[in-house]
């Protein structure tokens, strides 16, 4: 069958599904939706429909990006616009279905927004919501809107038309379009995609390989997962176009083992694409053949590094090698390999269909297009976002993210994961693009963006990232294997109150030496979080070292809890709840906390009746403040 016929049939089915006489219900079932109880919601919907004898199409979709409102359910009732409902737990389902589908009450209280031109009074338009208005969706355009396990949905929404178009033009023209688009690698390094493809095309050695890096290992990042689970065909199509342009039939996806659902959906997608002759031999009747194989990682962060990833595909230990040669010259089995990230590939189909100039219309002079970010941490609206390059951090944190939880003061935003840095409040107006982020000591990275408030200790966060890199270091080169643990030991001493004043300078020097001497991307970027934290939050480091005090009250060894006897009602709930039996006291008397047995787990705080709050955390060790009367101590606790 010719592609226009495939597309026409898919579109007819799509229209029937969306505009037919049967209600359509979409349930957000990406990992985030499932973790929020999406599967139970799905079952409850099916049971309720059966109970009322309503016939409806219920389909799973990916994540629309508003993770904090999951489970999200969309209902399309014939004659009405599509309405998105949030926090639809299994318990809420029967009433919602009865109210809307049986009694025609659109439940404005649970509705998030409507799609399309038609509206319902009292419900805002979905794309006008503050979280969504500044966003531009290209790589994630289908996430949350199609069934990722049904290829016809993807095709009806334009999927594979980029591949069909590419097959009709020359390889060089495809690459030329990529050049015009200005697309740079979305995995972090930002290398221009067209250059990799052109070099691979020009290489005389065969066979060549297209490899997709889906080993999204940065803690706090889930952009690729959203694409893999929500619109796997965008990735397959992008890879097929890459395969055509460099002239190969071999494609590999290296996906991390922590994403079982992504692997399952990719397998289904590959199978379906083969059935439609959109992958496999002689795609759409052309001379071009392309096949994709999935390789699963086994829990090694360093395998996100290009050369390590390829060794892992070859069935070896995933340890990076010295570069050059770059992988485009000598990659898988020493042959030319073009390695790109999931998001990079997901941008390709639209660039081919709409043209490189269209894509380059978004973003800034040297950072074109959009970028997805996983916005998390102490923020009101965490989730997955896609924004044009050049947007400021302030717009992301406050307009899209809705500011800090409980209106607490903003302290820092961490970009680029363990390879990036923490940026303080006075840099909130920095535009988000490759050059500006690196100028202020961070990186774009793959797109993790963790927002921190004054409760987060910057020393502890830097220690966390460094401990992560120590754990994940492959051990091949000395600066990374030996240098990072030395940095970590110093930082552990600092968070335990044993730090010495000279440690700060020593950390800075050692960090710079490791950056200069390490072999691969992991080692050369591992000291970044420490260096940026010292650069912007030096006074916090000094408080830990000189005053033995953690201003954010996060470092367990530098805080202690006390019970203020003037407020305590001697209910003894804390005494019974304490897991380490550190709290003791006689009946009708205010109990006391034994600082040595106390593990600082905070359980006592959670069981204590909130309105009297006699249990308070103090920065610093007990001796410093306990001799003061309650009123003074209370003051210290509040102001640090």
């Amino acid at each position: 069958m010719k592609f226009p016929d495939i597309q026409k049939r898919a579109q007819e089915e799509w229209k029937q599904l969306w505009e037919g006489d049967t209600p359509l219900i979409l349930v957000g079932l990406a990992t985030c939706g499932i973790a929020a109880g999406g599967n139970a919601t799905m079952k409850a919907i099916e049971a309720t429909l059966e109970k009322h004898g309503i016939k409806a199409n219920v389909i799973p979709v990916g994540c629309v990006g508003m993770c904090y409102l999951e489970p999200i359910v969309d209902i399309i009732k014939p004659g009405r616009p599509r309405v998105s409902y949030c926090k639809v737990t299994a318990e809420a389902v029967p009433q919602l279905i009865e109210d809307y589908l049986v009694n025609d009450n659109p439940r404005r209280d649970m509705a998030l927004g409507t799609y399309g031109d038609q509206t319902i009074e009292g419900i805002p338009k979905f794309w006008e919501l503050p979280m969504l208005k500044p966003q531009v969706r290209i790589a994630t355009k289908n996430c949350g809107h199609i069934n990722p396990e049904n290829i016809d949905h993807s095709i009806a929404k334009g999927g594979y038309s980029g591949l069909a178009k590419a097959l009709g033009i020359s390889q060089e023209d495809v690459i030329g379009e990529m050049e015009k688009s200005g697309l740079r690698g979305r995995g972090g390094a930002g290398f221009p995609t067209f250059r990799k493809w052109r070099e691979a095309l020009k290489s005389k050695r065969n066979p060549k390989f297209v490899v997709c890096n889906a080993d999204e290992g940065d803690p706090g990042a889930f952009m690729d997962r959203s694409v893999l689970e929500g619109d796997p065909h965008a990735l397959l199509e992008g890879m097929a176009i890459a395969g055509y342009s460099i002239g190969t039939k071999y494609g590999y996806i290296y996906c991390r083992a922590e994403y079982p659902l992504a692997v399952k959906r990719l397998n289904i997608a590959i199978q379906q694409a083969k059935e439609k002759n959109l992958l496999g031999d002689n795609i759409l009747g052309s001379d071009f053949s392309f096949d994709i194989e999935i390789m699963q990682g086994a829990g090694a962060f360093v395998c996100g590094e290009g050369s390590a990833l390829m060794y892992s595909i070859e069935g070896k230990r995933g340890m990076p090698r010295v570069r050059p040669p770059r992988s485009v010259e000598s990659g898988l089995w020493g042959l030319p390999t073009s390695l790109n990230n999931v998001e990079t590939f997901a941008n390709v189909p639209d660039i081919i269909v709409k043209g490189g100039d269209w894509f380059a219309g978004y973003g800034t002079e040297e950072s074109k297009g959009t970028k997805t970010f996983a916005l998390t941490g102490k923020i009101n609206r965490p989730g997955l976002i896609e924004v044009p390059m050049g947007i400021t951090l302030r717009e992301i944190v406050y307009d899209i993210g809705g500011g800090i939880i409980d209106d607490r003061p903003f302290k820092a935003v961490q970009t680029g994961g363990p390879s990036g840095g923490c940026l303080p409040a006075n840099l909130l107006d920095t535009p988000v693009d490759y050059a500006n982020l690196s100028k202020v000591g961070s990186i774009m990275g793959s797109g993790g963006m963790v927002v921190m408030d004054t409760d987060t200790c910057m020393v502890d966060v830097a220690r966390y990232f460094l401990a992560f890199c120590v754990e994940e270091s492959c051990g091949k080169c000395v600066p990374c294997r030996e240098g990072l643990p030395i940095m970590l030991r110093m930082m552990e001493e600092i968070t335990q109150g044993k730090g010495k004043p000279e440690y700060i300078d020593m950390l800075e020097k050692l960090g710079k030496d490791i950056i200069a001497g390490a072999l691969c991307g992991l080692g050369t970027s591992a000291p970044n979080p420490v260096l940026s934290s010292i650069r912007y939050f030096r006074e916090e480091w000094e408080a830990h070292i000189n005053e033995k005090r953690c201003p954010a009250m996060a470092c367990k060894d530098l805080i202690h809890y006390e019970i203020l006897s003037s407020r305590c009602i001697a209910c003894h709930r804390c005494l019974w709840a304490c897991p380490t039996k550190a709290i003791t006291g006689r009946t009708l008397e205010s109990p006391v906390i034994d600082e040595i047995r106390c593990s600082r787990c905070g359980t006592c705080l959670t069981v204590c009746p909130a309105r009297i709050s006699p249990i308070v955390a103090f920065p610093g060790r007990q001796a410093a403040v306990s001799s003061e009367p309650d009123a003074v101590r209370q003051e210290v606790a509040i102001n640090g």
Partner: protein, 149 residues
């Protein structure tokens, strides 16, 4: 040779390129990598046992020790970390008496700390036998564990 091992090797045409995938399938079957089975794999693929050991110890997902009936994965990714994953992990360690990477003596639980499960908005998150539990406190995490025998 064990029938299951043979089937797994057959699935990958006894090609040593698929060593990592083969080990994953074996681990899924036995919950760990038994020594005598690794010897069989070494012979079947014609790969030195030392090399298989190298791969098996390099990747975190593999275990050379028997695992418990239930696998607890505690997410300690950045977002979970700033939302209190350390306290959740502490509580779980206290409850089970084991630390990440260990298995308790009656093979009930194995505990692993993983770096990011990708559902950051729901942190702190733990996964027990593939089931996700989000927005946990130290106390509710312990309650979750009580549901597994």
């Amino acid at each position: 040779m064990d029938d299951q091992v043979d089937a797994i090797l057959q699935k990958y045409q006894r090609n040593k390129r698929f060593l990592v995938s083969i080990l994953q399938d074996i681990q899924r079957e036995y919950y760990y990598l038994p020594k005598d089975i690794l010897k069989q794999v070494s012979q079947a693929l014609d790969v030195p046992l030392s090399q298989i050991f190298g791969v098996a110890t390099f990747f975190k997902a593999f275990s050379l020790e028997p695992r418990g009936r239930h696998l607890i994965n505690v997410c300690v990714g950045t977002a979970c970390h700033v939302r209190g994953a350390t306290r959740v992990l502490d509580a779980i360690e206290r409850e089970t008496g084991i630390r990440p990477g260990e298995t308790d003596s009656d093979l009930r639980f194995s505990l692993e700390a993983v770096n990011c499960l990708g559902c950051c908005a729901l942190g702190p998150v733990i996964v027990v036998d593939g089931e996700y539990h989000g927005k946990l406190s130290p106390a509710s995490a312990v309650e979750v564990l009580n549901g597994y025998e």
